[in-house]
Amino acid sequence: MILDCRGRRCPLPILDLARHIGEVSVGELITVEADDPAARPDIAAWCRMRGHEYAGEVTADDGTPAYRVRRLH
């Protein structure tokens, strides 16, 4: 699943992530495409606080950073 959070300012991307994490199966990845620079530290911090795995950063076709999160529970 890919969440398009372009133009959404923090903390909105992690709110979007929290709302949709339940829609992927445990062990599956959810990707957040976000252009707010605060999304990078905040998504990693959210994973730590919520017990999910931060699976790193890739880049969307348009160059927007895309953060991958693995649902662990």
Partner: protein, 374 residues
Amino acid sequence: MGAYLDAAAGAPLHPVAREALLAALDDGWADPDRLYGASRRARLLLDAAREAVAEVLGTAPDTISFAANGTQALHAAVAGTLAGDRRAAGLVHSAVEHSAVLHAAEAHVAAGGVAAAVGVDRVARVDADEFAAACTAGVAAAALQAANHEVGTLQPVDEVAGRIAVPLVVDATHVLGHTDVPAGWSVLAADARMWGGPDVGVLAVRERTRWRSPFPSDEREFGRVPGVPNVPAVVAAAASLRAVEAERRELAQRHRAWIARIRDTVARTVPDVEVLGDPDGRLPHLVTFSCLYADGEALLTGLDRRAFAVSSGSSCTASTLEPSHVLVAIGALTSGNLRVSLHRGTTEAEIDEFLAALPDVVAEVRAELGAAGL
């Protein structure tokens, strides 16, 4: 109701500073370097202020120069120490220095120099061995803050100083007047606003430390800060420092207890909060935490509506869209960030009121974002 809890952005003017400022506006207005009575009176006041600051820092008066403000002192400290070495061009600094140090580093790089940032752990502390190891051949200066301005963690300044051969520039902005100043500095910068003085920067350069003015220079302030010093402000800054030093231990003890209480209470009464910085090796008067699903600007607005003044390292709360480099360096949540810092006028009743108001403010902001139940 309400309280000013942003002392790390500048404490309210100390009553002693106000009194000294008013007196010095009458007696110390003249240029201290002229040959007439009014000038001699200004010179006496300036010299006495310098001696007072030197005594607190445990150094000789002629190592102290006064700058317009803390930022200018930090710029001069970093740039002047780099300029003092005509062969090496490297600067080593921690990743969590104040932006004034980082701006000086950027200017150094733009002018052809080299700068390297040393990373920190989860509480924002550098490892002394790692920092010292970065100070290799080719490095002209190292810069390390005495305490982090955002999360309050003390840095191992003296351990680093004992391991390196290059001059160590120490940003003492948030320790002076609050806790012991580490002795390991070669060049030191401080800001009188942090101890209830007016805008005055302190630049101290130890004997035998190579330092060369990075500005066009004149004979003022031992050639380190050009232009006529603001004598009344300097007199007020020194008077305030002396007064604050006299009550420092008692005040620090009180602040430490209140900060510990804020750390515990916030963690208990605000759901999904991360309290940042070292719980023990820290400044006595400052605490920082980040609230999940809340934005810093809305928190500041909600607190301001209840007349509480604090600050935030979240993005969109300053002139930049970038979150605080300190929060990023320690891997902390950057949204919903708040820093609370105490001054000598802070009362326990103010702490009580703040702690009572905070959970509601956070809950309001979260409700507005639709974060309930997430």
